[in-house]
Amino acid sequence: MMVPVRCFTCGNVVGEHWEEFKARARDGDEDPAEVLDDLGVERYCCRRMLVSHTDLVDVVSPYQ
């Protein structure tokens, strides 16, 4: 629903980078790999947290 605060595997804080990642790689047209390198998200455990995330708040909020 919301981006996980930390990486499930190593415990690194990844939520911190979500909005910038979203703006640059999802909504923008930058290469996600380069954005992640730039943000300092190095390990693949942390990278998959951002790459595979989908925000669902907009999907569920009409049913409150």
């Binding site: 919301m2 190593c10 415990g11 909005e19 708040v57 409150q64």
Partner: protein, 249 residues
């Protein structure tokens, strides 16, 4: 252990460092690693009292998210394990509540990262809560784990041998970590982790340097790497003293 050991930094930043330790046994190196992960107390939110939560997430989901936000941990001795620090958050939609919106009652305990989204609030939704942060160890909950991805490798030494026969295709020799060359430390990233880039056309032999370990340490922002390592070592010392006293007749 009466032998001397020395420490040399390869890379040093606030939240991330690599350093070489010489003269420790594999068991002691692993002891330091484990202490950094499980035995250094950090502050984290543990109890949350919700005044209002009309967001799309349940109270307990938000409490978990708040707990996982790293908080700066005061110097050793400043707090004991029973002390609590109260933090409050009050955000009204449409807006996103961030970790930076947490207001702490103590200057020493602040969110280490301010940009972690806690919950997105729509029109007429509101989050108001009061949270108690406590000091605890990584052993009890991962949110109290100050060291992230802590590990070590042997320092390696490369022996350069004869030339490779002229018409033989040379295979890649991948090494990761840090190698020692004439007393100088070279991170393998300098030659793309491939020894054939550094010694083209040469036979190479790689061997571990005994009792020399290169640690890679990152923290979640609760404190600096220096703090984490010294506190981990202090905790080993404290337990060793406790054991010594316990077995004395």
């Amino acid at each position: 252990m009466t032998e001397e050991y020395d420490v040399e930094f390869v890379e040093r930043e606030d939240r991330k460092a690599r350093f070489l330790v010489r003269g420790v046994t594999p068991a002691f190196a692993n002891g330091i690693r484990r202490a950094m992960i499980a035995d250094v107390p950090t502050m984290a939110i543990d109890t949350v009292r919700f005044v209002e939560n009309s967001s799309v997430m349940f109270d307990e989901q938000l409490a978990l998210r708040l707990g996982l936000v790293p908080l700066t941990t005061p110097p050793e001795g400043e707090f004991t394990e029973d002390d609590t620090v109260t933090l409050s958050i009050d955000v009204e939609g449409p807006a996103t509540a961030y970790s930076g919106d947490l207001v702490s009652s103590d200057d020493l305990v602040q969110p280490a990262d301010e940009n972690v989204p806690i919950i997105e609030l729509k029109d007429d939704q509101r989050l108001e809560a009061e949270a108690d942060a406590v000091l605890n160890r990584g052993k009890d909950h991962a949110k109290h784990q100050g060291g992230v991805a802590v590990g070590y490798r042997h320092l390696q030494r490369v022996e350069v041998g004869d030339d490779v026969p002229e018409f033989e295709e040379q295979e890649r020799r991948i090494v990761r970590g840090v190698i020692e060359e004439d007393g100088e430390l070279v991170p393998t990233s300098e030659f793309d982790h491939d020894l054939t880039n550094r010694y083209p056309g040469k036979e190479v032999r790689v061997e571990d340097v005994p009792n020399a370990f290169v640690f890679h340490v990152e923290t979640d922002g609760s404190f600096t790497v220096d703090e984490l390592v010294t506190r981990a070592v202090d905790s080993i010392e404290a337990r060793a003293i406790e054991l010594e006293e316990a077995v004395q007749l």
